[in-house]
Symmetry: C2
């Protein structure tokens, strides 16, 4: 997905939100903003938004000298999610349609996105879970997902944010975990999950976990490690969580199911849905 | 007033809104955005926001080759306001407190601000008039204004946007018009009023009208003509309409009454009021 002009004010807002979270030092904030403005002025609009977000957050890490500015935010999110986990598992176990419920709860976890939302606490999480329980999913898509999962030999599950990973656990437990490789980012960027966050979320107890070798808040294939690219080529089914993975993979000719909350107007426009919608969609290209 | 970091995403949104209004040509839109980003990256944050807005709109005019991109928007606003004028005059004439009503209606007209709001039509105007009629003004400020108007020999009335000028007419008619000089911008910028717009609004039939010699969407004294600066020095009372005039004159040691709608969070924060508030305030410095 190309970067839209409307993403530009948002890059600046994101940079401002993030640098404020990391430091109170106005002169560093100013330096980050100036450098971000220059960097955005030179960006290639054919690149997806996460390519620019990577640059913005590299700037923030460089100017603040913090290699993982969201480390405590991420730890807090994981802790919060782990406290809710028994309730999530109970909801899935007792559901009339456990798979649909698990998918919806996995999408509920996608609210923990500090790129799109400035603060996510207990209240936002509860509201998101409530929304998950109140909506329906397209039955045909669920059925198609189920049959493809059954047939697939190599499933890649592309995780998104720290804390959100915990919300994927009930879904993973309904899938053939021995054929799933769970993927996180290769280095810290915003509150996206890395191997350390996957460890904290207990993902390694369920499935194989690898990182994609990149600090893009999404899956920009060209920026990923050779090793991840091999996994990607081999995969016959991909589950992709969140906006960043959608923005970077929506044009791919692969069997990809996207699970996300459409948090911004550009994404919801691209998906043809209202802002805030819980999205469970098979990739466009793969239908052809 | 300094430029806040939060103004930066807003500058970009403004540039995007404006260039889209002027041209559908994506390559021109892109050029304007890139140039705006570079320009903002070099700005002096001690300058008030209108200093940057001037640069942004100079870029838009230069790249689109249109010297007055908002010319038809402005004509439409003036036309719309002139149609409402008899009703505004009736409301003031029949009011229990005509001066207070005229001040509030003058502030109602400040909704016609294409810098802050992307579209203003009949509906927004009606809502704004309704708000004007439902609120109260601080009685002491109105009394102080009345007594200062009575004593002042040289009153400058700093107008703001095309169309909004018409909303100032009922107020002017309650003031000593022979001691008032009405001021518009020296050149087109956003939908700010110029001499041509003042003419269309019929301002010359009531008072002397001059322009300030500058294309800043506010009153940045250093950028104004020598002639305007003389008027400014001589003035013993100033009425300043809108955010741009507030942003550029809020620190001035002069008797200034500001009439505006606090349309953005930075302004409302600076004024200590909720966003959307109708503001009628005497300048801070002049109280000292």
């Amino acid at each position: 997905m190309r970067t839209h002009f409307d993403c530009i004010p948002c890059f600046l807002r994101q940079a401002l939100d993030s640098v404020r979270l990391v430091t109170m030092d106005k002169s560093i904030q100013e330096e980050v903003l100036r450098k971000t403005l220059r960097s955005v002025s030179e960006m290639n609009f054919s690149d997806p938004p996460p390519a620019m977000a990577r640059k913005v957050h590299r700037i923030i890490r460089a100017y603040t000298g913090q290699s993982d500015p969201y480390i405590s935010v991420k730890a807090g999110s994981t802790q919060m999610a782990l406290e809710i986990l028994p309730e999530l598992e109970r909801l899935v176990t007792q559901a009339r349609n456990p798979l649909s419920t698990a998918i919806r709860l996995s999408i509920a976890g996608n609210i923990i996105d500090f790129g799109a939302i400035s603060e996510v606490g207990q209240e936002e999480l509860s509201k998101s879970i409530e929304q998950a329980l109140s909506i329906g999913l397209d039955a045909r898509t669920v059925a198609e997902f189920q049959s493809m999962v059954y047939e697939a030999q190599h499933i890649l599950f592309l995780g998104d944010n720290a804390g959100e990973l915990v919300f994927d656990r009930p879904l993973l437990q309904l899938l053939p975990m021995d054929r799933i490789t769970y993927v996180v980012r290769g280095a810290p960027v915003i509150n996206d999950a890395t191997l350390a966050d996957a460890q904290a979320a207990g993902m390694m107890d369920l499935v194989d976990v690898i990182d994609n070798g990149s600090d893009v808040p999404g899956t920009l294939l060209a920026a990923c490690s050779r090793s991840f690219q091999e996994y990607y080529k081999k995969a016959d089914l991909i589950v992709a969580k969140g906006q960043g993975n959608y923005e970077t993979l929506s044009g791919e000719n692969k069997h990809i199911f996207f699970l996300l909350q459409a948090k911004c107007s550009i994404i919801s426009h691209s998906l043809g849905c209202a802002q805030g919608t819980f999205v469970f969609r098979k990739g466009w290209q793969s239908i052809l």
